[in-house]
Amino acid sequence: MPPSAILVRDLKKTYDAKPPVEAVRGLDLEVQRGECFGLLGPNGAGKTTTVEILEGILTATSGTVEIFGKTWVSDEKALRESIGVSLQETKFADKLTVLETIRLFGSFYARGRPAAEVLAEVGLEEKAAALVSNLSGGQHQRLAVAVALVGDPELLFLDEPTTGLDPQSRRQLWDIIRSLRERGRTIVLTTHYMDEAERLCDRVAVVDHGKVIALGSPQELIRSLGGDHVVEFALRGVDKARDLAPFRALPSVRGARPEGEAIQLTVTEPHVTIPALLDHVRASGAELSQLSTRQASLEDVFVSLTGRHLRDA
């Protein structure tokens, strides 16, 4: 059996500072060939540090990293040829054109691809002659992906590829990433957008405080909540420090937690829970001020694991 695309064991990275910053604290990962693997977590969770160690840009404090069964120490040259990288927030030279930038990076690889072919892959043909300084945020990000692809990599790292982009640009990038996956490239994607991870990734590792706290396909992780649905409601005229036990006891409810003024229930069958919830509220003399249901998401997984939201963790 060929080795995994990525194998990480007990990875640790501590930055020298006062006090020392433990960015990664014992992280294990295994990424298979051909899968799109997501590292999902809030800002500061250690995603970028982990990815930059995998990319051979940073060195780990301890632990082992193997890419296609090779290590950065012994096989740097071969590994550099076989990975493509899009770093978080790289700004390419303003005064070079898109085509010139891709050609420059292509020249570093033994089997660099023709610039025009890569441009077409990210849909930037029209901007070939444009200066980098004249690109929009989304176009610049697509250029970063093109530069990552120019060496024809077996393994692609995309660090926060859509952060700060407008919805349309995000969707364009999602389409590009999907088509790359369909062509069998192995992709490691970091993001703090749960919807992005849900849409694009075969498997996701949820990272918090430098450790993997959950691992699986997005569907598996959501299923681990016990229910696929979330019922959220708020009561008028009820003290905030309320008891959640009666709600947990309602039929088909798998979990309950406060969410600001409201209460969130994880449920398997909303059509069973909601009538029972209404009866309970009426019997207790309270009044509903809000009621909604939705599909459970990776966000709910993160909240149930950490008690915090991704966006404000």
């Binding site: 770093l87 005064k95 420059l104």
Partner: protein, 344 residues
């Protein structure tokens, strides 16, 4: 095939980034020319220096004015006794003459033109009063290219340009790339680091040849300046200077993460040399005690060697010490820079 050559692509990228920024092109090529024009005009040779003389109104002032006005080399101005001090202090006149029983000459001994005025005014007034010179004097006037301020200045500007070009063109550019995370992105590719360094260096060499040609051509065209020594030697000295200051630029940029940091460091390196290394005036003006330090600076070595070859026609063997000083700075900086350099 050039599309696939990383050194060529890196060099091309540097050159494109250079010429697509008109403001950078101006600082490298336009600014030294403007300086040469400005200073060339300000310090041009006047046929004869005209001395402004203030004559205090009073007995004998008319006679003194008449005696001085008879000569071309003076302009006279009658002033009140009260304002004489101010006129002298503000430089409106170089000397104040007060005639009376004794002739009073007020001048500032620290100002060269004032000292000259004292001698000339004294001479003119004494002769007008009937002094006879015991010795006969024959004057021979000598002004020829090679001895003028502009001749002194242009090699200095060339040296200055090679220094600031190296520091800005390497130091600033690299720190900017680091702050944009572009250096980090480059090391994530199989790019050879030596290719990157060599391309940065080569871009400076190309520009230095341009700077050299432009300044010397301009000096010849506008001021009739001629290169006495070997062109080849001038070119080699300039290239060595480009190498040395690129090395110093690289050293300054080896760790700095912010543009502000590297700008400060570059000024720290350049300012002392602007002042002491004989760009605008001879470094010989500094006291003897500090001369060993001044002569050990790379820009002093470069300027002195350039002047020796351009103005005096010196040959290679006479400049070996200066070349050794300059080269040593380059090699040491380069080795240190490569040891300290951080890509991320």
């Amino acid at each position: 095939m050039r599309d696939r050559n990383p050194f060529w692509q890196l060099l091309l990228a540097r050159m494109r980034e250079f010429y697509r920024q008109p403001e950078v092109v101006f600082w490298v090529f336009g600014f030294p020319i403007l300086l040469a024009v400005g200073l060339g005009i300000a310090f041009r040779e006047k046929a004869q220096e005209v001395i402004a003389v203030g004559i205090v109104r009073g007995a004998g002032s008319a006679a003194a004015a008449a005696a001085l006005s008879a000569k071309d080399s003076f302009t006279t101005k009658l002033i009140e006794a009260a304002s004489a001090e101010d006129a002298l202090r503000l430089g409106k006149v170089s000397i104040v003459v007060e005639s009376g029983a004794t002739l009073t000459l007020r001048f500032d001994p620290t100002r060269p033109e004032s000292v000259l005025a004292r001698a000339k005014v004294d001479d003119a007034l004494q002769r007008a009063a009937g002094r006879a010179d015991p010795l006969k004097v024959e004057e021979q006037l000598v002004t020829r290219p090679g001895a003028r301020y502009i001749d002194f200045l242009i090699p200095g500007l060339l040296g200055m340009n090679i220094m600031s070009g190296g520091l800005w063109g390497i130091g600033f550019v690299i720190v900017e790339m680091r702050s944009r995370k572009l250096l980090k992105r480059l090391v994530a590719t199989p790019m050879k680091r030596t290719h990157f360094m060599a391309a940065s260096m080569a871009s400076r060499m190309v520009l230095v040849i341009g700077e050299l040609a432009l300044l010397l051509f301009f000096g010849w065209l506008v001021f009739g300046m001629i290169v006495q020594g070997s062109w080849l030697l001038v070119t080699l000295l300039s290239l060595l200077g480009a190498f040395t200051f690129a090395g110093i630029g690289l050293l300054v940029a080896s760790r700095a993460k912010k543009i502000e940091t590297v700008s400060g460091l570059m000024n720290l390196v350049m300012l002392p040399m602007f002042v002491t290394s004989g760009v605008f005036f001879s470094s010989e003006r500094f006291p003897e005690v500090v001369q060993p330090i001044v002569r050990a600076l790379p820009l002093t070595a470069l300027n002195d060697a350039l002047r020796a070859v351009i103005l005096e026609g010196a040959d290679l063997t006479s400049q070996l010490t200066r070349i050794a000083i300059l080269g040593a700075w380059g090699v040491v900086s380069f080795v240190l820079a490569l040891k300290l350099f951080r890509w991320t």
